[in-house]
Amino acid sequence: MALIAVDDLHVYLGESHVLQGVSFEVPEGGVTALLGRNGVGKTTTLRAMMGLVPRRGSVTLAGEELNRLPTHSIVRRGIGYVPEDRDVFAGLTVDENLRLAERNGNPRYELVYELFPELKTRGGQKAGTLSGGQQQMVAIARALLNDNPVLLVDEPTKGLAPLLVTEVAAALERAAELATVLLVEQNLAVVARVAQQVVVLDGGRVVHTGGAKELLGDPERIRELLGVHGGGH
């Protein structure tokens, strides 16, 4: 049974009809990658699921309708969110960024510091002075700090150096052992490494769903759906 079900999701941003009835399901456990060319609505889909943009349609988590809930209530149902642009609080220290994300009495600092030891040593540093990769660690750490059964992760490797991409991919693999992950990612090598299922968007609609291996093993289909060569993995 699907843990998350998105049904007929519509989003209008100004005059633009960005999501035109997006429907897909995310099974419990593992990583489902949400793929597509630039501007097809991947980030908007995650933002709509989080209640960060006005939306119409249905999003359910374990059968419970989320679309009428405000963002903070959706998060409290157990959905962690790592936004596309990291959105760390630049004026707060790393420790304060993490402390702000604590939602219960048992924050998982051991897990966070095991994945990103650098965050422990840089606890007193203002997040705005960190590199892009370090900021991404903070953003992922905030989502992992609580026992969220679901993580929505938006382009975590965007703009990162290859070494950091590997580190983030490893963190995603670890996260997938603890939660169901819906991942927006342009780097197909990372998708091949971590994802089991894929959902492909085009023009604000779902145009393909299926296994990650099947799609990534078919360069012709990748070129057709994503407009890129499939040799990156």
Binding site: T71, H72, A90, G91, E96, R99, L100, R103
Partner: protein
Amino acid sequence: MSTFILLTITGLGLGAMYFLIASGLSLIYGLMGVLNFAHGAFLTVGAYAAWEASTHVGGGAGTKLLVAALAGLAAGALVAALVELLLIRPLYRRPIEQVLVTVGLALALSALVEAIWGFDARQFPVPAWLIDTTTIFGAHIPNDRFLEIATAALVLVGLTAFLRYTRYGLIIRAGVENRAMVTALGIDVRKAFTLVFALGGLAAALAGVLSGVYFGTIDPSRGTSLLIFAFIVVVIGGFGSIGGTAVAAVVVGLIQQYANYYASSGLGDLAVVLLLAVVLLLKPEGLSPRVAH
């Protein structure tokens, strides 16, 4: 020399009042994006609630002032919290309507105060020791100036400690930077909105009480006239920055006093507007960035 010292301490006293009004205004805009034109009305309501309370208690002027201040602060915080809950909250993400509501509310509350207490100024209960002067380097400084400066300094320290060391302070500092991301961490930021409004109302009411001590009287237009300078202070200091607001309040208070005395009486207001123009030209974001600290 004695004149300069008197002008400086009087300017600091005036700056202290500007800071008390502007700090709430700054945090409210920084966190919520609400340009609160009703903020001066919180000051007026606080001042009149204090005056009203002082007429119902016995004892000396000191006791009267203390009870009056507590009543004024409670009234300011309560009215501000109610305004946020009943009028501002239904209008989130509708900034034009919010501005219209706060302008309308400012007019309505001033009219209400005039209807209840009349247009004429009321004598404020000021203990004799506050009217007395202390001589510093030959300058005879009214003691109330020290009260205003010390109170504003305490509020600055308290507000800074609140923002730095409490969870709500953390939420407010984060919310000033990125409100949407705060909610995406599972935090109901609306509670912080109400708290910031209540704190702003409390500080404005405190300014109302202190303005009664400073001027010796209160009148229905006090909030509006001080609000104009508070807005200037907030723009100069940088929206959302308590430190920047404090510096700007001191600068504005001092420039007003110096210009009024050394240039020409009445030029103080013009000098402040000129300062605003210079800051907007050279540093449009204000003295301090949009970070609550």
